[in-house]
Symmetry: C2
Subunit: 138 residues, 2 copies
DNA sequence: ATAGATGCAAACTATTTGCATCCTC
DNA sequence: GAGGATGCAAATAGTTTGCATCTAT
């Protein structure tokens, strides 16, 4: 797989004031083009040779997440998954398949669930909100 | 802290066909009485002497989760958290405080959020559904 | 009596840290 | 040129596995 210049990705990096490097472009491009959340191992495998160090990939993802370019999710597979942007998923407990949920807002998403459930038996879910509490909001 | 016989916990174990052992009663009691999600380290610290092996605690939590007695959540603190039953939380990114969300159903919970936000600035959230996809539903 | 629970030791996986060198701006 | 990014080596944290022994049913 060949990675040519990916303008939207480069713009995103610049907008976040991150230096544009080959490794970052490659990681961002793979995430952007993936239709499902990627674990680091899969992301690493997809990187073109010469691959950057695994440690670098971890650091890149950390910087992307701080900038909000990427979203980390816990799919209960024993390791983190990353998506370009911020989406939610249906995760099959048996085969580990993931199905992206449509809709930008949580409410909208929830209304869609009823239909989705026809083909997906929801047995559990995770819902956590992150942010700053009263004491930490300065 | 002394753990006397905890009937509700013992009943729950029996109902799940789990053998009633001292270690299980202790773990279940601590979780049941905790108002916030507990990480394994904190749970272990709270165990009365003589403490069971840490490995045993991991195995107990695994069996509890399989039986649905306990719910595991990823609060982005680098390790799992457990709650007796199934609740969701507001998690402060700065001080790691957690605030339980009231309401049994997701919809109900979401409507409550608007008010909660007055004192809690939500910057991100996680929402994942787990279960069985079409192919895995037999 | 027997299946399942526990303890101990060791392994494993995912992730992080330190430091020297390199590259983007 | 300077500050941030990367590579390499090593460490760490959380969790899991194997196996012998013990215990609740």
């Amino acid at each position: 797989m060949l990675y040519t210049v990916n303008m939207s990705v480069e713009k995103a990096l610049k907008a976040s004031k991150l230096k544009v490097t080959k490794a970052r472009i490659a990681v961002a491009t793979i995430l952007e083009q993936s239709s499902s959340p990627l674990k680091i191992e899969a992301l690493y495998d997809a990187l073109p040779d010469p691959k950057p160090d695994l440690v670098t990939v971890y650091r890149i993802l950390e910087s992307f997440e701080k900038s909000g370019l990427v979203h980390q999710s816990d799919l209960r597979h024993g390791h983190a998954h990353y998506t370009w942007g911020h989406t939610h998923h249906l995760v099959c407990t048996a085969c580990h398949s993931t199905f992206p949920l449509q809709g930008d807002e949580v409410e909208k998403t929830l209304k869609t669930i009823a239909k989705q459930q026809k083909d997906f038996t929801v047995t559990d879910h995770a819902l956590e909100f992150f942010g700053f509490c009263k004491n930490c909001t300065n």
